[in-house]
């Protein structure tokens, strides 16, 4: 894959190059002596950039590796290979105290706002914790800063003394967002931030995230399985399949003219709330193969209607088929 997917005068906030993450599969002793250790190819040679104040979407089905990438960038787990530059600096080279200090630059919000907040802590202590850990505001100012953050995410400062269970799912996601914003991060990673929420509440949080991004000049990595949400929020999108990026494009181009057969199939599979395009589903065959033994060549080839002999043999190169529109398919054409 090309290293400079996006060339801008300003240095991008995040550059991910040839990122690889394999997980070992636990086996019994005899099996591990007899054959090569099994591994899950969760992320296999992934490169992309997130520009300054850009919202970059990572979309894919389960097992695509999108959440693993989020955790790798947040340095919650360590990669098997590859490099990452954060504001041009080697993000993976940081260790120990230097890493702890730098963590404030990359913050994350998660899918399940019920599991990601400690139920025994008040909202004030949840939001204040990063402030005191990183000593970014004098102790006397913490209270005021928490109130300011709560207001920024649409909560009342009077909510500060309550506990997470006293809030609805949408409000809990607001608390998570206030905590993530506390340190003025450069990059915010949102991993399925609205998937656990009811549809009428989803929109509140989506609009809030967009609003916060503009006000705080954040670069945003938005991870989701939901293409309609991604279309609404993101400037550019990478489509992932089984550990690899298969297509990257501006949102408009990707949804108007998807070039990779997988992206096309994914878009055709989504039931839409309209009577204008009512149809019998043009379902693609089969299910997502195991990431332990991914298919050879193009990983999508066993399910691809357009696959030919070459697709099983050679991994397709990432090619720029139209300006800024990349796809990893031997036969895709703009």
């Amino acid at each position: 894959m090309n290293d400079t997917v996006q060339t801008t005068a300003v240095r991008p906030t995040l550059e991910v190059r040839h990122l690889i993450k394999h997980f070992a599969v636990r086996q019994d002793v005899f099996a591990s002596l007899l054959r090569e250790p099994l591994k899950v190819h969760a992320v296999d040679d992934v490169s992309f950039t997130v520009g300054r104040e850009e919202t970059f979407g990572l979309v894919g089905e389960s097992g695509s590796g999108k959440s693993t990438i989020g955790k790798l960038i947040a340095r919650l787990i360590e990669p098997t290979g590859g490099t990452m530059l954060l504001d041009g600096e080697d993000w993976l080279a940081l260790r120990g105290a230097a890493l702890r200090r730098a963590r404030r630059n990359v913050q994350m919000i998660f899918q399940n706002p019920y599991a990601s907040l400690d139920p025994r802590w008040t909202v004030e202590s949840i939001v204040a914790e990063p402030l005191s850990t990183h000593k970014v505001v004098p102790r006397g100012d913490v209270h005021g800063r928490v109130a300011e953050l709560l207001r920024a995410v649409g909560l009342e400062p009077s909510h500060a003394q309550r506990f997470p269970h006293q809030f609805s799912g949408g409000q809990r996601q607001r608390i998570g967002l206030a905590r993530a914003l506390a340190l003025n991060p450069r990059l915010l990673i949102a991993d399925e931030p609205v998937s656990a929420l009811d549809v009428s509440v989803q929109a509140q949080i989506l609009n809030l995230i967009q609003d916060i991004q503009e006000r705080y000049h954040l670069s945003l990595l938005f991870i989701s399985h939901d293409l309609s949400v991604v279309k609404y929020v993101c400037d550019r999108v990478a489509v992932m399949y089984l550990g690899r990026v298969v297509e990257v494009a501006g949102t408009r181009a990707l949804f108007r003219r998807p070039l990779h057969p997988y992206t096309q199939a994914l878009l055709a599979a989504i039931p839409e709330p309209t009577t204008k395009r009512r149809r019998i589903f043009a379902a693609i065959e089969g299910e997502i193969p195991s990431p332990i033994h991914p298919p050879s060549g193009c990983r999508f080839h066993p399910r691809c209607a357009r696959a030919r002999a070459l697709c099983a043999l050679e991994t397709p190169e990432f090619r720029e088929l139209a300006p800024g529109h990349w796809a990893a398919c031997h036969y895709a054409e703009a």
Partner: protein, 325 residues
């Protein structure tokens, strides 16, 4: 509605909780005809699943069906004994759940489980039952059904498990299938396969009616002829799918349509959230339960609960805006 397959009237289902009585289904009425696909759509806690479970008489204490009737093929399901309900469940009304693991026993091969169900309700012998089950597994798209007959549930992928569940639901050719979020746990490409399968089976089967319970307006739009929209235990709107999508009447339905990001609209099309949160089912708002979130609420909405009223062309809405009396 004499020709209705199932006619639900004023159904009330409630649960006792520490905080008080939770009225999950609060006077719900609807009907479904033979071979029809009816959508029950709403957000979590709206009572759509409790409605499905009430029809199947699966409500256990501290829950109870506290009122109303459910007349299925001329018989009130509410009046039936436990034993009589066992004859109905699986044979005449079947249910498909979101999570296949709740239906399949993990320690028995799948084929035997379906065959047992088949034999319980018919006079078929073991060989005949096995043959029928293998036919059914083939019909739902399980490859090599002869071999897979003896496979255990965990040996199937999520999509294949859901196919087994569908085979299980249809093996006795029930008149009604209640499908509660049947594809919610699946990836979109697999969801599309299962929806296509359901469409195909329903067309080929002998007039099976389907109640499709879903939070996903897209799924409902593609699958259903008519839709009931539920909010806080009430049906707030009933209409053909086209009318619900193109000319929604109830402010909640209108809000729901505007609050979902859609692929068929422009990137710049705004998404407008419904303000506030879903009504507390234990201490619901007075009058119309939607009034605290409704931009059109007026005095009457605070005090009087609206009932479903016809607004023309078979379209019904429970909203004072459309009540001329």
């Amino acid at each position: 509605m004499s020709d209705a397959l199932l006619d639900v009237r004023d159904l009330v289902t409630r649960f006792r909780t520490k905080r008080g009585t939770l009225v999950a289904v609060d006077g719900v009425s609807f009907n479904i005809g033979r071979g029809e696909t009816l959508g029950l759509v709403g957000e979590s806690g709206c009572g759509k699943s409790a409605t499905g479970q009430s029809i199947m008489r699966l409500i256990e204490p501290p829950g109870e069906i506290a009122g109303g009737s459910m007349v299925f093929e001329g018989e009130d399901l509410r009046a039936k004994s436990r034993e009589e309900m066992r004859q109905v469940r699986g044979a005449r009304i079947a249910m498909i759940f979101q999570d296949p693991t709740t239906t399949l026993n993990p320690v028995f091969p799948v084929g035997g489980q379906i065959a047992e169900l088949f034999r319980y309700h018919t006079s078929a012998g073991p060989k005949e039952a096995k043959a029928r089950v293998i036919d059914m597994l083939a019909e739902v798209g399980i490859p090599r059904p002869h071999e897979r007959y003896d496979a255990y549930p965990h040996e199937f992928s999520g999509g294949m498990q859901q196919r087994v569940i569908i085979a299980c639901a249809l093996v006795l050719r029930p008149a009604l299938v209640i499908a509660d979020e049947p594809t919610t746990a699946l990836d979109v490409t697999v969801q599309a396969q299962i929806l296509a399968l359901l469409q195909r089976l329903q067309r080929s089967e002998t007039n099976t009616a389907v109640i499709l319970i879903s939070h996903d307006l897209g799924v409902v739009a593609q699958m259903c002829e008519r839709v009931c929209v539920m909010y806080a235990g009430n049906i707030v709107e009933v209409a053909t799918t086209a009318d619900i999508l193109d000319a929604p009447k109830h402010p909640y339905t209108v809000g729901l349509m505007q609050s979902i990001p859609r692929l068929d609209l422009d990137e710049d099309a705004a998404v407008r959230p419904i303000p506030g949160v879903v009504a507390d089912p234990i201490r619901p708002p007075s009058g119309c339960k939607f009034h605290p979130r409704c931009a059109h609420a007026f005095a009457r909405c605070y005090s009087e609960r609206p009932t479903l009223k016809a607004t023309g062309n078979g379209h019904m809405a429970a909203c004072h805006l459309y009540d001329q009396t």
